[in-house]
Symmetry: C2
Subunit: 194 residues, 2 copies
Amino acid sequence: MPKLGMEPIRKAALVKATIVEIGRAGSLDVTVSQIAKRAGMSSALAHHYFGSKEDMFLAAMRHILSLYGAEVRGALAAAGDAPEARLQAILRASFSPGNFRREAVGAWLNFYVLAQTVTEARRLLSVYQRRLRSNLMSDLRLLVGPRAPAVAAALGALIDGVYLREALKDGPPDSAAAVAVVMEFLTTELGKQS
Amino acid sequence: MPKLGMEPIRKAALVKATIVEIGRAGSLDVTVSQIAKRAGMSSALAHHYFGSKEDMFLAAMRHILSLYGAEVRGALAAAGDAPEARLQAILRASFSPGNFRREAVGAWLNFYVLAQTVTEARRLLSVYQRRLRSNLMSDLRLLVGPRAPAVAAALGALIDGVYLREALKDGPPDSAAAVAVVMEFLTTELGKQS
DNA sequence: AAGTTTATTGACTCGTCAATCAACAAAAAG
DNA sequence: CTTTTTGTTGATTGACGAGTCAATAAACTT
């Protein structure tokens, strides 16, 4: 009983299922059948809409990164002009419960691995890193002047590191704790002992 | 022409080959045959000495972590008693060219992924993290007192994050740059603007 | 109504790979 | 010098999984 206009619905379901399955498995070793099953369709249909497994992975990556981008953009728009507030907004968005869920974090780690072999995945991650860096820099320049590049590099790496450790630890993710770890660095760096 | 006492030699060759192959491939998707070939033997022999592929991976992990542990221990022994010097020693050891080679960094990232699925791998990583934390804490307590736990958490995550970014970027690894990123954080945190 | 496009799947192909086995060789033990 | 232990491999097994295909059906077009 084929309804028309299924394509976007199916694709969205597959993207979501891909992220969940990668997060569950904790690796890219998930079969197209697993993903398709979770999305409620046959593996053949998954291949019909995305040409290949790799394309599914890339679509899932784009989805996660675009969610993240939207979250940051929104937080920045609501943060006004004060550089400290903007930096805090970026950090809170980075660890907002939306991005900082088990499956998302597990998937994210595996996208780093994917970027080792798949050029397009690497490109996507680079774009995200550059955007983050440029966001951080514009506010840091106003606050720490010439030390901005070094601070931005450390902040970027620190965010990734917190994600990495979250993927390893057991128990539910803790946004607040993650933000606290990064804020420890940031407040000291800005010279205001909280 | 079988020489006797091959076991340790073969095992060492396999461990080394495992690390290289994982680093090259940028994923755990390496075949036992590839590893065995690089180590100069048949895949059957690899299975003979290690019971399974997973055992090879774990042996490789233990090897990398024990190299790292030895490096840190050595650096600490040579660092005297001054807490600042000891912290610097840990950082420099963490990014010493011995650990901070392409293959090792690539393999290390993939061991994080392995830890998602293989309990023993997770255990090994936890041990390493606990040891690092305890090393950092003992010196940080003397320097930043009650803030030691927070600073140690951030430092640990930062080190992992720098590794992670190293795995993604192209071009040869740069120990000095990596140390500089972390030192930016540490010197500010210790209150001495370099 | 006939033809075309879209949705959907079960069955199949084809390759890959971990793990096992049978067999052979050389050294050590008796 | 025979028996056991250690080292070694080519060939094989058995499973699994990505991607293809033919077939079926509902909807849209003319």
